[in-house]
Subunit: 205 residues, 2 copies
């Protein structure tokens, strides 16, 4: 197995991809590494090092071909079409579903779950909503590896063990709670409050 890239490199690759997607449909889809660096506020030498690691080389006169670079980044980030389940179909869950359905990312939501009998059995933006009791079966069926957790904090203690038992290995956590997970399970906290805390700390009065 190829060694994993460091976290900051992965974040930069995701940033490059996000930026490059803007230029994809231009007439002249080439970009210079120093322009990428400038637009992202990253040192040019770092960008060139990342792109070198990807094994793409730029044209000295025109720069890097945007679509080739996009393809190479997507190969590197890998896991095309990873199946994701969405746990919690409240307003936040539903809006995340809609956001993802409208994007071009290869990750896709395959099923949603809720405890509200009024939601179970219904379909939201094309995705079926199941009762939380069928989580394990459906995660196995769909070979889903990632769960988006968008439930009220009071439900976390009851729902998290089901998610962990199901074989899910990555959780994007929209609750305000810290999740205790066994080693090998990856959690990223997406609670908007934590990000706002951090922004508030750094802006100068």
């Amino acid at each position: 197995m190829e060694a994993k890239l460091p976290r900051h490199t992965v974040m930069r690759l995701s940033l490059y991809r996000r930026l490059l997607l803007k230029y994809r449909y231009l007439d002249e889809p080439y970009i210079f590494s120093h322009d990428l660096a400038r637009m992202l506020g990253i040192k040019a030498v770092k960008v060139r090092h990342d792109l070198m690691q990807l094994g793409v080389s730029g044209d000295r006169r025109k720069g890097y071909h945007v679509n080739s670079l996009l393809g190479r980044i997507s190969d590197k980030l890998g896991r095309q079409g990873e199946a994701v389940v969405l746990v919690g179909m409240g307003m936040l869950g539903h809006s995340l579903l809609r956001h993802m359905q409208g994007s071009e990312n290869p990750l896709r939501i395959v099923a949603a779950f809720d405890i509200d009998p009024g939601k179970v059995g219904k379909t939201f933006d094309g995705i079926p909503c199941h009762g939380i009791a069928s989580l394990t079966d459906i995660v196995a069926q769909q070979q889903a590896g990632i769960a988006i957790l968008a439930i009220p904090p009071d439900d976390v203690a009851g729902v998290l063990p089901l998610i962990l038992d199901s074989g899910i290995r990555g959780i994007l956590n929209y609750t305000s709670l810290h999740l205790d997970v066994p080693e090998g399970v990856i959690v990223r906290n997406a609670d908007p409050m934590a990000s706002l805390d951090e922004i508030a700390y750094y802006i100068d009065a």
Copy 2:
């Protein structure tokens, strides 16, 4: 002015706060640094170093008093009651508003903005929704420092200059686009796709 803490320290303080909030109402609201470390998957020596920097000391027998520690962290993170504006009252914006209104964080949303005439002039969960043209005036009136950006990508080119002109100094960006901002403006990207990319990369096949 006190020197700013490094970003990773701020993120850990925000994590500690999130975790400690769970224990606040317990009968015996004390916690040991090694328990904090274990629950957060952080080295105990690092936790003790952070707490020492906060100037709180634990009781050798009982550990740290949870409520005092919470108070000290909130002092350190500062900017109590910073005013936040929400730009984009689509489904995602509305759900973020509801999420924040339901939390105990001192940051508060003071106004929302949209371009949809059907939303302008209405009130959502107690927050008035204004037309985007009044952004500059209202940001000044409310002395808001932070904007949450939850608009479709196609609207970013038109709306971002208004936000930057208004004097906003921090942006929590829910769009999938990279934002070009002048030095001194802080952007944190909260696009769920970027976090999912990162999780997908690290979970093992």
